[in-house]
Symmetry: D2
Subunit: 359 residues, 4 copies
């Protein structure tokens, strides 16, 4: 009972990694949004496996089918339903884990919670579920575009390799110029090297995605519990492998004094209210203030490694287990469109909710 | 439309800092919970202003009144309603900010969103609202206690002063042994010094609260969007001044390789499934695995400083503004019971939701 | 976990008949609504006991206190909190029913569900809870008035005495011209007689309230589950003692053929789309069509009668029980403001939800 | 944003009558429920068009595909996704209504709300959507069966032809013994005759479905807004063509005095608490009391008639319009499985919610 996200712009996802398919219902997308299936497909292509030598070589076309909610090029206000059939399933790859609990996977916890699990791959706990989010996020992005709002995420850290400058100094148009999705080309190359080395050692590596949202009008966000950054945080933490979220000054901000941290207001030449600094990350009291929103999302290294590991089976007996199959040595490049999608979904929801602000 | 938190154990708060009072309705607390008003009061006393020389000298008794949902010592299953009257309001302190936008406060954003605001203090955006959360959290704690679950939070960092060891090496029974609520006495003293120095400079300082939850059975948490850590993250990020949340290995975990980060399962002598390490922070695939849950919450320095700052008024004109009144130089000590409360609320909700796991 | 009603304009009520008080939080009322406490009080006065010789002689002032969400004459967008203290409680009246299960009351079912109950009066199951709804409904009515929408309910039947004409032929301005709240004066008198006779026989009588909503623009209502009439139906059925709901042609409409029942569209001289008949009751496909909305709500006779009745106690033993105290022989006159309130709440919610209709 | 029904046992439907297909996600079905696709198919077969000479001759197989949430014969606790492809669409049948507003249909209101509509058939407003409900309802029924709860609905009235006795005097095992789904064979025949005559006159006729629920334990239902009968009422009113709902004594009960209407409690020989009469319809204070639950649902005559009718087009111009295609002269026989489905969904939800009753 938690496969739904959003209050007014609302998605419900379904599907397992090795069942017939996965999909999503978008309920609450306003009527009259011009939308082509190709836009959704383009977003899915950024997430799909096999897109570069740095990701899993698994090939899945992830072709989307629009089942409902769309007519003659426009959304109709009724629920959009998007289906992606699973293709390259290779269920036989997974029989060796039917009774094993893979370390740092969800096998054990699903068994504890539900008393059973679909042991073919991660089943529902597989990151494959995020394809449904990406499809829905593309719809949200189309809606936001009409209101001048744009989300852009990029890989800012892989293992110990970090982009040395802040997002303001980057050309975010370069995000897709390389396989890593890091708009700092020199760093991107070092990241790619680290990923290759890690893969060759049969290991995995984590990192950080930085998200930037521009064009958000002041007034989005719902105090007190559904603060804009609280919803963004929940959205990001719900992505597989995420271990942390911070926005604006984040954890670093705890080292500043109030006199250093406060963002002074001023009115610019155009008569626009702005702040001199933006430690607030574009959000004050849970509500957007019109400045850029930016945040960072920490991804742990992928749990599936092609090495032998000690673990137990579902009888509690010690066993050794080695990952098989075709897995990502680093999820960061493919995580970028997922972070985009979740941010787009949060903002679309908040944009609709803000329509109830005033009499 | 966002003053409600939780799905089954569900709270709705109300109230402004300088109105008649604040309060909370707890809807969904099961019937038959033995509860005394004193337990709620004790939690509130840990949060109230004026409790030590390190906090605001404002004195508010924060006396709770139980209006409904309680009969002859037990909850009845009907909504608990808790009211705390405001007492030491001093509304006249705030007329100087009626038309001013305080830096890094919510004055500007509330005006942008609602077209008006209660300018007496922070109004609804004041951290005073968290008293209602603490009251509700005490009810959740009583419920969790019956199920052997205990939340313990403490101050692990103030400005640059950090507890040098992990939570496992601390005696959490010492949390309330000092004004800072840091169970590492030596560090607590250095923290207190830093807070005093900061206060004397009319400045403020931030820090980190670490939360620890013990006794959580395996199986709590709802994939895919309402993962246990995603709900904890949202809960913490909804607290005033919070800028970041991480659990388990968090942002540091991004520096490890998969082979280092994975938590190996084993069965202990008692036949209990455990993990050798706990980078997972007690949560795998969004579901508790029975190990300790731990997380960190970043608080920025308080925005109100007793120094003159450049800002604008609601006409967009540049003005200088200095904080008046009695404010906290550091919210961390008083943030501990708030973090406790929010964690208790999340876990109580998840405990009830888990009752629907199986046929 | 069901003391909340509405999705965007959302109320949560609390309180028992003989506890300290009852109240409501209205979360989602837009900011900027001009509102005086007196408007709320006026609505409560229409519902309060002791208002005429036809109702219970219990005297309760039902004085409302606004605790939050209101500043300088306007709503602020933060949760409105309204509190009504209980006054004339006479808890000693109820000790005789501590262990008894009153026929057709909720004593038995509350005990079965919760394992305990507040046995002083009906506790939470008392119709006293509806005072909180009436208070909230007055806020909704103020919001709707700004948009030209008006709800008017009246007593159309008491026992076998019925208003002989439809609502279109009545002057709804006469509703409050008599104690019964029936705008057909002659019938009102017969109803009053029946209520008096019933009271004198120590019995009770039921009836029907008809609701009429004018000024609703086309486009309110959310298919497919939250159809406008489905929400109205749930709202009415949630009122104590209600046994049925119908709108438009209702149960009588099942006797017509499609050729008789269909409402032909036409365009009037003003260019306005209208229908020749209105069997649809102003709602088609769950969405308002701009015509009058009308519906009927059936109330059973009050369960508390001042006669001896056979029943059992909480040990399952047969006992005889007679109602004591001061009760209504007929709830219909006091039900009118409750029906008004619930209709106002549904429409305010739908008005806000409709803001998300289009891009 | 209203295509979701239920709180814990929760469905979200999608699809239009003439798009690629319709379907439903069931989120919250507990893990471990033994379930075969055939059970769902059997329920769908009771609803499908073309099943008898009394229904539309349209032939649609309504073959269900299980896309997710099911593994090795059991539900897994993850969202069940059910898809039914549309087959016999004949979109060309509908071009004549592209710009016309059919009387008592939702064409006009959808256009008013959304600014556009899928004009092929009813689109989203078509009763075809209820196939998705029936599929989900079959899952709920399987869950309820495990707990001894059974819903049985039947046609109790068609036009002026009524079953002359109450449900207690009928053998509900006969419901499917005839095309009308009326367990009173003699009346069923008269109903069938009326439907045939009406069809031959190119007209349509309405009626009443009576629902009976047996085996409900005491304690289901959530006061105060989500009373068991309020949720049943909303569920039924959300079905296409429904104009009214009553339970227990219903509208007739308004004619009784309290002394006649009250249901006296007694303890039967088996020590079971029961009531002498059941005007309460098995629900007191919104909570089940263990007696049979029964209710009545009014369906208006189908709006599509094969006669010429006066109406307007989307330019507001007067036109004449005659229904084309293959339509039901009476929806009652096919409404039975829909009423069953909605009742099953409400009860499954309440059964799960009741698990949070007590500490």
């Amino acid at each position: 009972m938690s496969n739904t996200f959003g209050r007014l712009f609302r998605i419900t996802t379904f599907g397992e990694s090795h069942g017939p398919g996965i999909g999503v219902i978008v309920d609450g997308c306003p009527a009259g949004l011009a939308l082509e299936a190709q836009e959704i497909q383009t977003a899915l292509d950024r997430r799909r496996p096999g897109q570069s030598e740095l990701t899993t070589p698994r090939q899945e076309a992830d072709q989307v089918e629009v089942l409902a909610g769309w007519f003659e090029g426009y959304t109709t206000g009724t629920p959009l339903s998007l289906l992606i059939r699973n293709q390259d399933q290779r269920s036989h790859d997974y029989t060796h884990i039917q009774h094993a609990y893979r370390p740092s996977h969800a096998d054990y916890t699903y068994d504890q919670k539900y008393g059973r699990r679909d042991y073919r791959g991660g089943g529902r706990s597989s990151a494959r579920e995020t394809a449904a989010r990406v499809a829905a996020g593309a719809v949200a992005a189309a809606f936001l575009r009409q209101h001048g709002i744009q989300v852009q995420s990029y890989v800012s850290q892989v293992g110990g390799v970090k982009v040395p400058v802040g997002y303001e100094e980057l050309d975010l148009g370069l995000i897709d110029s390389n396989m890593v999705r890091c708009p700092h080309p020199e760093t991107a190359e070092r990241m790619a090297d680290l990923i290759r080395q890690t893969r060759d050692r049969h290991d995995t590596v984590g990192g950080v995605v930085t998200g930037v949202v521009r064009g958000v009008p002041a007034g989005l966000g719902e105090p007190v519990f559904d603060k804009l950054h609280a919803e963004l945080g929940k959205a990001m933490l719900s992505i597989n492998a995420v271990k942390g979220f911070e926005y604006g000054s984040g954890f670093e901000g705890t080292l500043l004094f109030g006199s250093e941290h406060n963002d002074a207001f001023y009115t610019d030449e155009a008569g626009q209210v702005r702040t001199r600094t933006n430690h607030s990350g574009g959000i004050q009291g849970g509500i957007s203030n019109g400045q850029d929103i930016y945040f960072r999302v920490a991804f742990k290294p992928v749990a599936t490694i092609l090495q032998s590991q000690a673990t137990i089976n579902d009888q509690g007996e010690a066993i050794a287990l080695a990952g098989k199959g075709r897995h990502d040595p680093c999820v960061l490049p493919r995580a970028v469109p997922i972070v985009d999608a979740m941010a787009n979904l949060v903002l679309a929801d908040m944009l609709l909710r803000a329509r109830a602000n005033r009499v």
